[in-house]
């Protein structure tokens, strides 16, 4: 963000001030985001785009600008745990939809970073809902490997990519089977062959199969090198309990794989195995329909049960309006709290639910302490709310990203303001702006 802001001549003086300034938000109910309880009358101090301190009894630095947050909640910005945010303008308008490449010859090599478009309306809609970062993955098309996803911010500036090529995304389960030729068995062969080709590729040119012999293109192999050697996370979409176990078994053959499960609607059925394998999950929160034969056991209690079994779990929204409704994250988290009051159901405490949309996705994607938490050294993504952020009536009243204050207007608020009174006045609505 900083680079771009400095590049905007007209704005140079403003953000410089914002960057240099020390801001202390006082008197609010502070949520750290790490699963600890909210702190009444807490303080959050940030400077140069980073959190200096947050909590109770924090000294306010001399010269700090103080913002009174009495009666308000102060939280880290929410992290959309799995999304396609920034890749899609309008889903059904193909030219604006960069989430999938149906006829590309490449798979694993695809890198969403240059396609992230901070101008899509979904970024502005997410920002006013308190989402400040998102984990963004491509979709698969020709290969079970979708490509490399990124972590982005939702700031109003043009530089949205926080961490490019943060992970590789692969489809197992029904979708992976489809893309690998038609069966789950074929998907496992395809996957193993791909990593075998990558091994050969790493071993040196002598062993690299000719393009005629290999299934992967060279850029795909190159992209998978850090996956095979465990330097890059491999996010795996899988839903059913048997498919989850088959994916966990991959670690026996490829011990360095840094696996993260995505979706996992039946994760509760094999929660202890997931916990034992020490594999975290970015899970769908409210999937509770047997929408297909790999989700027969889907239940809203899945996350609660996985958490209880010791699985590290965050909320994500795979295939659930993931291009534009990251704003549902807080509502989903709130629903998991609701489950704690339903006999027989498993949910999350408020503190754990809030962590599932802030620090947990950050930790799972390898950015612990960097985003999704109000701790010293973290990026100053700070949100002020007028009330409980998981409640349906909560309103975001201020957002900072990397310490930079953000606009809370977007296309929707402009339309709203134009049509607050629907009838036309002295001039057509087109003149009302």
């Amino acid at each position: 963000m900083k680079g771009l802001l400095l590049a905007c001549a007209a704005l140079v003086s403003l953000p410089s001030i914002a960057q240099a300034e020390t801001i202390a938000i006082t008197g609010g109910k502070v949520v750290i985001g790490d699963g600890s309880a909210p702190i009444e009358n807490g303080t959050v101090v940030f400077r140069d785009g980073r959190v200096v301190a947050a909590g109770k009894g924090i000294a306010i630095p001399v010269g700090a600008r103080t913002i009174d947050a009495q009666g308000k909640w102060v939280t880290p910005g929410l992290v959309a745990g799995f999304s396609r945010l920034g890749l899609v303008g309008i889903d059904a308008v193909d030219q604006t939809n960069d989430s999938v490449a149906r006829t590309s010859p490449f798979g694993a090599a695809i890198d969403v970073a240059p396609a992230i478009n901070p101008d899509v309306a979904a970024i502005g809609v997410s920002r006013v809902a308190g989402i400040t970062r998102a984990i963004v993955a491509p979709e698969t098309a020709q290969s079970m490997f979708a490509g490399q996803g990124a972590v982005i911010d939702t700031g109003i500036d043009a530089d949205a990519v926080t961490r490019p090529r943060a992970f590789q995304f692969v489809e197992f389960g029904e979708a992976g089977a489809q893309e690998a030729g038609g069966s789950k068995a074929a998907a496992h062969v395809y996957f193993r062959n791909a990593l075998a080709e990558v091994r050969d590729y790493m071993a040196g040119s002598r062993a690299v199969p000719s393009p005629h012999e290999s299934l992967l293109k060279r850029p795909d192999m190159a992209a998978l090198v850090p996956v095979l050697n465990g330097q890059k996370k491999l996010l795996v979409h899988v839903e059913s309990a048997p498919d989850i176990l088959a994916v966990l078994n991959l670690k026996r053959e490829f011990s360095k794989l840094d696996l993260v499960l995505v979706g996992a609607s039946e994760g509760w059925r094999v929660a202890s195995q997931i916990a034992a394998a020490n594999v975290p999950v970015i899970a769908s929160a409210l999937n509770d329909l047997p929408e297909n034969f790999e989700q027969l056991g889907a239940t809203q209690s899945s996350i609660g049960r996985m958490k209880a079994a010791g699985v590290k779990v965050a909320i994500g929204m795979i295939n659930d309006n993931d291009s534009r409704q990251a704003q549902y994250s807080a509502q989903y988290a709130g629903n998991l709290v609701a489950l704690t009051r339903v006999p027989g159901a498993s949910g999350l405490s408020w503190d754990a639910a809030f962590a599932a949309i802030t620090s947990k996705p950050a930790e799972i994607i390898g950015m612990a302490g960097e985003i999704g938490v109000l701790k010293s050294g973290a990026r100053a993504d700070v949100v002020l709310w007028d009330s409980d952020p998981l409640e349906l009536s909560a309103l975001v009243t201020a957002v900072w990203i990397d310490g930079v204050p953000q606009s809370l207007t977007n296309r929707q608020t402009r339309l709203r303001d134009r049509y607050r009174v629907p009838t036309e006045g002295a001039l057509p609505k087109a003149y009302d702006r």
């Binding site: 303008g89 309008i90 889903d91 059904a92 308008v93 309306a121 979904a122 809609v125 309990a241 039946e266 059925r269 769908s284 409210l286 999937n287 509770d288 329909l289 047997p290 929408e291 297909n292 034969f293 027969l296 056991g297 889907a298 239940t299 809203q300 209690s301 295939n319 659930d320 309006n321 993931d322 534009r324 409704q325 704003q327 509502q331 709130g334 629903n335 709290v337 609701a338 489950l339 009051r341 339903v342 006999p343 027989g344 159901a345 998981l390 409640e391 349906l392 009536s393 909560a394 309103l395 929707q412 608020t413 339309l415 709203r416 049509y419 607050r420 629907p422 009838t423 609505k429």
Partner: protein, 468 residues
């Protein structure tokens, strides 16, 4: 979860399926035998729904949203024999039947059963495999001859989730939106049955689904046939209405005429017996449809997915047309790009009729939450909208637009005892149904696993009987 597309994706995949396997059936439904009908049976697939047994029940110490915008704090609701008996603050012992059970609901809330005016449960059931995809007869741009009830699979697991999580007691199942005239809808009680007829809401009028905009022109334009434009949409509609007027004239003349299943439905609309439920996103298109309805003499009950209603709230109020809307769906297709979360609030403030609908097997489980979001967004504009009014968006207003408000949709003596007891304010994310009664029968009880339906499909499969 499915992506919310207003059945865009499903519609297009269905079209392919239709091309591959279905011969054009367009005219085969017209009976060729030109016998003079003595009397047309308007109800050939009648409801066999019968209320299940209930016990007289008194809910006391509850906060009541009556569905018509009323709120009673610390109130009581008494129901017996499947009907609401008394609602209010002061119910005396003399009013209470000797065999009544009393539930003390301190901290709990009572609403009428929730009604979803726009659902495809049963027609697009779970699992959403091709073999179950029965919601769009996308083989002709006008298929008034199809009836959604003939696709309803009464074993859809979605009905149980809608009951347990959403407190849904009645719902309208509509054909999809691939066609300009998609066919008849059916109103169901959300009570499992072996047959569709066993779920049919007794006495509910039929509806007919129409669709504006992108879907019909895309589906048929892609086949190289009319309509491929919005003007084509209107042209096909108008030609069809002219035929319907002609048919009605012949039918009403008392002379011999050849029955046509589709024309029966359109004539039923012109008679005022069948309600038009019109999928329409854009304000300008709604305005054109309003004029078309006047041109041919019918009335639109509700515009569904009406994301731009806020732009013409005054026009909708003037014409007495409800807007069935989402709280915050937007941007999934071009015609949903101008959706704003204040849509419902602006409509309410203008005095127009608001309904919150789902069109989705997931969000039907949280219509109360969708209403809460829309309410909060409306209040932020400074509009004074009560909690009780927001509840009317899910109860009395959809009942009115479906023509069943004399039977359900509010807690008034004599009406069906379709009732939800919530474990907190239903406008809070932290609240869920505690108990749901349909016609006075307890069909969901959070505290009793035996009062939780499991469809045939789920029996013996992973997660069966799990608290979903």
């Amino acid at each position: 979860m499915r992506q919310n597309t207003g059945f865009l994706v499903l519609a297009s995949s269905l079209v392919l399926a239709g091309c591959a396997t279905v011969k054009q059936p367009a005219k085969t439904v017209s009976t060729e035998a030109a016998v003079k009908p003595v009397k047309v049976d308007k109800n050939p697939y009648p409801s066999t729904y019968k209320p299940y047994a209930g016990v007289p029940t008194l809910l006391r110490n509850v906060t009541i949203f009556d569905g018509e915008g009323g709120r009673i704090d610390n109130g009581s609701v008494l129901f017996a024999d499947g009907k609401v008996k008394l609602v209010g603050g002061a119910i005396t012992d003399a009013d209470i039947p000797a065999d009544a059970i009393t539930i003390d609901g301190a901290g709990k809330f009572v609403t009428p059963g929730i009604i979803d005016i726009h659902s495809h449960l049963g027609d697009y059931p779970s699992p959403g495999v091709d073999a179950n995809s029965d919601g769009n007869e996308a083989t002709s741009p006008t298929t008034p001859e199809v009836w959604a009830e003939h696709s309803v699979w009464p074993q859809d697991p979605g009905f149980s989730r809608a009951l347990a999580n959403g407190g849904i007691t009645s719902l309208q199942i509509l054909p999809g939106s691939a066609n300009l005239m998609g066919g008849r809808s059916v109103v169901l009680k959300n009570v499992y049955s072996r047959t569709m007829q066993g779920m049919k809401f007794p006495g509910a009028p039929y509806g007919m689904k129409m669709a504006c905009g992108e879907n019909p022109k895309r589906v048929y334009g892609a086949k190289g046939r009319m309509p491929s434009t919005r003007m084509g949409n209107l042209a096909v509609n108008r030609q069809t209405w002219i035929k319907a007027q002609d048919y009605k004239k012949k039918r009403d003349s008392g002379k011999e005429y050849t029955r046509d299943v589709g024309m029966d439905t359109l004539a039923g609309v012109l008679d005022g017996d069948i309600k038009i439920q019109n999928h329409c996103y854009r304000a300008d298109e709604m305005a054109i449809v309003i004029d078309m309805s006047k041109e041919f003499g019918y009335k639109v009950a509700a515009f569904h997915h009406a994301v731009e209603s806020y732009k013409i709230a005054d026009l909708l109020k003037e014409n007495g047309i409800c807007s069935a809307v989402w709280a915050d769906w937007w941007g999934f297709k071009m015609e949903s790009y101008d959706a704003i979360p204040e849509n419902a609030g602006i409509l309410q403030n203008a005095g127009a009729c608001v309904i919150i609908h789902s069109d989705d097997a997931n969000q039907i489980q949280r219509l109360n939450q969708e209403a809460a979001k829309a309410l909060a967004d409306g209040r932020r504009l400074g509009f004074n909208i009560s909690d009780a009014t927001a509840i009317s968006w899910l109860t009395y207003n959809p009942a009115k637009a479906l023509g069943i408000s004399d039977m359900t949709g509010s807690l008034k003596p004599g009406k069906m005892a379709d009732i939800v007891l919530w474990n907190g304010n239903p406008l809070s994310v932290y609240s869920r149904p505690d108990k749901v009664w349909v016609d006075g029968a307890l069909l969901f009880d959070a505290a009793d696993p035996k009062r939780r339906p499991v469809s045939d499909f789920e029996l013996g499969q992973p997660g069966e009987g799990d608290v979903k």
